[in-house]
């Protein structure tokens, strides 16, 4: 279980700095697909960086199975939004996927097999020897996902991973993620600003407030599995949940606008 307790993150600066997150607490169960949505300007990326161990919290604790996180944990993988910068452009697709495995205590042959499997999983078996720049944006993000899958993480952290691809590719990648999750049972913590995406993918959606962010509410998504872009999104329950999440975010933005005025 991933447990976040009273998390606070303040960036140093004038007037006491900028507090992106304050008093944030929640728990993510093993194997859960947990999505964080919120208005832009909420400390979503800050929160993910803290969970991933890339950024130290100012106060509060984050722990995985009772072990506090104080640096990137071995069993976590991260998929960044900016795929073009998270892949090593000088390495082939296969070498990129293999990169985190080298020290993971596997011999060359099982490593190669893991790479092949992960690339096949994301539908890029034929692109193994290409360089990232020869692939489209969606394909590059598939490589980043393959790298994360091959790593076999316990927790997969994704920071708006599909924000910069076109709508069709986005739908494909969402379904790919659902399939991977189905097959591996990986815990996934997913940040997005897209309400439809959050409801479609998740078991639970956490709505966070504007900074200093805390959890506003957590909405359970009891939609049936397997999910389908057309069938699931046509369900009345989907529309209801979407309206609930969307409505709450709009309320928050509206309240904030009133408070600012």
């Amino acid at each position: 279980m991933l447990l976040i307790t009273d998390l606070e993150k303040t960036y140093p600066g004038p007037n006491g700095g900028f507090t992106a997150v304050r008093g944030m607490s929640f728990a993510v169960q093993d194997g859960e697909m947990f999505t964080i949505v919120g208005p832009s300007g909420a400390g979503k990326t800050t929160l993910l960086r803290c969970i991933a161990g890339l950024s130290a919290p100012t106060a509060g604790t984050i722990s995985i199975d009772g072990v506090p996180i104080d640096g990137p944990p071995r069993e976590f993988a991260v998929v960044f939004q900016d795929y073009a910068r998270s892949l090593m452009p000088w390495m082939s697709v296969a070498r990129n996927v293999e990169l985190p495995l080298v020290k993971h205590g596997s011999d060359a042959r099982s490593r190669r097999r893991a790479v092949e499997q992960a690339l096949a999983e994301v539908g890029l078996a034929d692109a193994a020897h290409k360089k990232p720049f020869q692939l489209s944006g969606g394909m590059q993000q598939r490589v980043a996902i393959a790298r994360a899958i091959a790593y076999r993480p316990k927790v997969l952290i994704m920071d708006e991973p599909f924000a910069s691809v076109d709508a069709q590719t986005r739908a494909d990648l969402e379904d790919l993620l659902l399939k991977v999750r189905e097959e591996t049972g990986t815990t996934i913590v997913f940040v997005t600003h897209d309400v439809d995406e959050s409801v479609y993918l998740s078991d639970r959606v956490a709505i966070v407030t504007r900074s200093p962010s805390r959890i506003d509410r957590i909405v359970s998504i009891p939609l049936p599995h397997p999910r389908d872009q057309i069938v699931t999104k046509s369900l009345p329950e989907f529309a209801e949940l979407r309206a609930q999440v969307f409505g709450r975010i709009r309320e928050m933005v509206h309240d904030a606008a009133l408070a600012d005025a």
């Binding site: 161990g53 960044f80 910068r85 998270s86 000088w90 985190p100 080298v102 020290k103």
Partner: protein, 267 residues
């Protein structure tokens, strides 16, 4: 000239083969013009191109000529190699550790502003007139563009790239050689591109003041003994050497940066 003619020429200049053809054409015209103007020259200071080329062909393939040429190339290679090693190592350190950068930057700017040739007397005192002095001077002059470009590149390393390395526990030597060095490589290569012609200048200068061998030595020696044809032949060889070095370096650069997105490189 008609409009169609101009567009045709422009298209020729845009194509890769067309560009080479135009370049060769330009060089040919220049050589022909030189030989035409100097062809009937009676002036001993400006001998005819044909005579210079004859002397070049006669002197430089002899054991003495080859010996002088290889001596120069060895010095050049050693000096440039040393500059790359020191420049990249120091540049990576300065670029990645802000404390070091803030401490050494003002001093660096000062030392860098001193022309390397100003240190010729000091270098001769320190090393005598041997190869060490020449290598020292070349390395000293060439290290700055490499160091500063590397430091700049290391400072500007992409945060997501480094985060990726951290998340996946790529650390130590694997991080340095597998992530940092390739990421900085384009900037290192820019620095070396600036350093190559500099190294040639410093090589000739150092050979002119203190040496018993080398291209610069041959040129000054020929001038002192009034063998102006040999002097000119040395200058021609130097020009050819510079051209070959730059061309070879461009090819090397393209080879090393094949992974770059051509669109991103040109923008």
């Amino acid at each position: 000239m008609s409009v169609t003619r101009t567009t045709e020429l422009r298209r020729l200049a845009d194509g890769g083969r067309g560009r080479v053809a135009l370049g060769v054409l330009g060089a040919l015209v220049a050589v022909l013009a030189w030989s035409a103007v100097s062809g009937s020259s009676e002036n001993i200071y400006f001998p005819s191109l044909l005579e210079i080329l004859e002397r070049t062909a006669a002197y430089w393939p002899t054991p003495e000529g080859v010996d002088n040429l290889t001596a120069s190339l060895r010095t050049l290679g050693a000096g440039l190699g040393l500059a790359v090693l020191v420049g990249v190592a120091a540049g990576l350190l300065i670029g990645q550790v802000p404390v070091v950068a803030q401490t050494v930057s003002p001093a660096l700017e000062f030392v860098r502003a001193i022309p390397a040739t100003a240190l010729v007397p000091f270098a001769m005192m320190l090393f005598g007139v041997g190869d060490e002095m020449k290598v020292f001077l070349i390395a000293l002059g060439c290290v700055w563009p490499i160091l500063l470009n590397t430091a700049d590149g290391a400072r500007g390393l992409d945060a997501t790239l480094l985060d990726t390395a951290r998340v996946f526990h790529v650390t130590g030597l694997r991080r340095a050689l597998g992530v940092v060095v390739p990421a900085v490589l384009p900037r290192v290569l820019v620095g070396v591109r600036i350093a190559v012609p500099l190294s040639l200048i410093l090589m000739v200068t150092s050979e002119m003041v203190g040496a018993q061998r080398g291209l610069g030595y041959v040129i000054t020696q020929a001038q002192a003994t009034f063998q102006l044809l040999t002097m000119w032949s040395g200058i021609v060889v130097l020009g050819v050497l510079g051209f070959l070095l730059t061309t070879a370096y461009s090819a090397l650069e393209r080879l090393l940066l094949r992974w770059c997105d051509p669109k991103r490189v040109s923008s």
